[in-house]
Structure formats: structure tokens, C-alpha cells
Amino acid sequence: MYKVNIHVLLKDDVLDPQGKTVNNALHHMGYASVGDVRIGKFIQITSSETDEAKLMADIKDMCQKMLTNPVIEKFDFSFEKVAS
């Protein structure tokens, strides 16, 4: 069994007003060193796939077709073996 962790973030050139608002709030709290805040999504999937190459290909496919919108978002993922 694998556990897959997928991170989805708006592309660098896409304005993230949510991140900007949180950034402002952090500055108001006194965290002056904060430079930029980008807010995205974290998706966790478990899979019974046994072939790691197939798992990677499938996850990439899922990200491109459904889990992200490639027009505005980018993604990366990692996975680890877990006891089933």
C-alpha cells in the first residue's frame, strides 16, 4: 500500500488574493520577515498499486485530468510505502 501526498499551488504568474490577504495579516501580527504567501491544496491518496512506475504515471494523469487545472495550477507529489 502506498500513501501519496499531492501539493497543488497556483502558478507563479497567477495572482493569489487569499495568500496576499494572509500575508498582510502576518505583517500586522509583526512577522515583518514574511516575504510571500501562496495558498494551495494538499491532497492525500492511498493506493493499492504495487508497481511504483505505474503509480507515478497514474498520479500524474489524475493531476493533469482532474485534481488540478493546468491552466492556473501546478503540482508536485511524493509517496511512501505504508502498512496496509
Binding site: P17, Q18, N69, V71
Partner: protein
């Protein structure tokens, strides 16, 4: 004209669209449940209404694009059938690839519900033929995620092919790129727009004509 209004779980402007097309414009309208696998025979026009299909889970329109009815709608559009996506319908059309670009959270993070002024950019299409180029029409918007975005190459294609249907006139309410409020596909038989023409039954009736395509 025979019109089909698609109903997804979470659509909430479907009956407004039926009322506008049938009772105000005098066409024949029926609803189509998202779980059907084909469109009714002889349909001229498909409307994807506003609302929150599938609760806006994941992204607005992201789940609706996998509805069982969607392949039939894509075939209908590719064969030249007229399709309009209003608000959430616009988001579904961009997610499903029938229209270019994407819709993001409004620049000021707020849900905006008010009348705005819209400028007609391309008036040589079925949807916009009754307007003058540059005409300003008043129409309501009601969305939290209507900020149109497309990359530079995509924007150039939109401009070169006259695919920009409407822009916000004056104030850009949601931070859309180039104030874009509605776009066509290349063939101009598919239109997506954030504002709600079906809500123009009592006031601003000029804007209702966007739905009077034949």
C-alpha cells in the same frame, strides 16, 4: 427554438433559465438531468446554468466536467450546436476545455452580487447579433470566482480570433484579465459569461436577448 437547460446537483439558476427562455422569450425549454447520456433530439441550444455544481468541490466546475451528460454536450458543441455557460456554467465550459482560460477567486476575495455595465466587443455572433459593437448593457453578476485568467499566448489568440464577447465597462469588479466577462470558442457557437442574462426579466431586458439566439 428548442432549448435544453442542464441541471447538475447544486445548479440553482436552472429554473430561472427555463423561465427566461420559455415565458419571456417564447421558446420551448426543458431541463436535462446531468446523469443522462444523451441530449434530447432536435435541440438547438444548450444552457449550462449558474449555481454551485457538486458544491464547487475541488474547483468550480471540476467535477461537473465528468458528468455523464458532458460527452454529449461536447459532441453537440463540436458539431456546431449552440451552447452557453452562465457563471458556474462558464466555469464548467473552461474546465471541460470547450472554452479557453480559467476562472479564479475574485481579486478582492468577496462574493459580488450587483448590476454592472457590460461592453459588447464582438456583435457578429448568434448571441450578440442584436447589439451594436461597443454597446453598453446593464446586467447582474453574482459570483465569488469570476476572475478570468489566460496566459499571454491564449490572450493573443482570443484577440486575433475575435473571441472576446464582453468586457466589464468602467470598473473591473473581479480583477479579470483585460476586464474580460465573456468569451466565445473559435467557431463562436459556444459562449461563456459570468453575468446572468436570465435574471433580466423585469429590469435591463436588453440583456435578456443574449439568450434569444435564433
Amino acid at each position: 427554438m428548442k432549448v435544453g437547460v442542464v441541471v447538475f446537483p447544486g445548479s440553482n439558476c436552472d429554473m430561472d433559465c427555463v423561465h427566461a427562455v420559455q415565458d419571456e422569450l417564447g421558446h420551448e425549454a426543458q431541463t436535462i438531468w446531468h446523469d443522462e447520456t444523451s441530449l434530447p433530439k432536435g435541440l438547438d441550444f444548450v444552457i449550462l446554468p449558474g449555481g454551485f455544481s457538486y458544491g464547487d468541490y475541488l474547483r468550480c466546475g471540476a467535477i461537473a466536467k465528468f458528468a455523464r451528460l458532458m460527452p454529449a454536450i461536447i459532441d453537440f458543441a463540436n458539431a456546431g450546436g449552440y451552447v452557453i455557460g452562465i457563471c458556474n456554467g462558464f466555469q464548467i465550459l473552461t474546465e471541460s476545455g470547450l472554452l479557453p482560460g480559467a476562472l479564479l477567486r475574485n481579486k478582492d476575495q468577496k462574493f459580488i452580487c450587483k448590476d454592472i455595465d457590460l461592453k459588447v466587443i464582438n456583435n457578429s455572433t448568434a448571441f450578440t447579433r442584436t447589439y451594436k459593437k461597443g454597446q453598453i448593457i446593464t446586467i447582474p453578476i453574482a459570483h465569488g470566482e469570476g476572475r478570468y485568467h489566460i496566459d499571454n499566448a491564449g490572450l493573443k489568440r482570443l484577440e486575433d480570433n475575435d473571441q472576446i464577447a464582453f468586457t466589464y465597462s468602467g470598473n473591473n469588479p473581479n480583477g479579470s484579465l483585460h476586464s474580460i466577462a465573456g468569451v466565445f470558442n473559435e467557431k463562436k457557437n459556444v459562449l461563456g459569461l459570468m453575468p446572468h442574462p436570465e435574471r433580466c426579466n423585469f429590469r435591463n431586458r436588453d440583456s435578456l436577448r443574449i439568450l434569444d439566439i435564433i
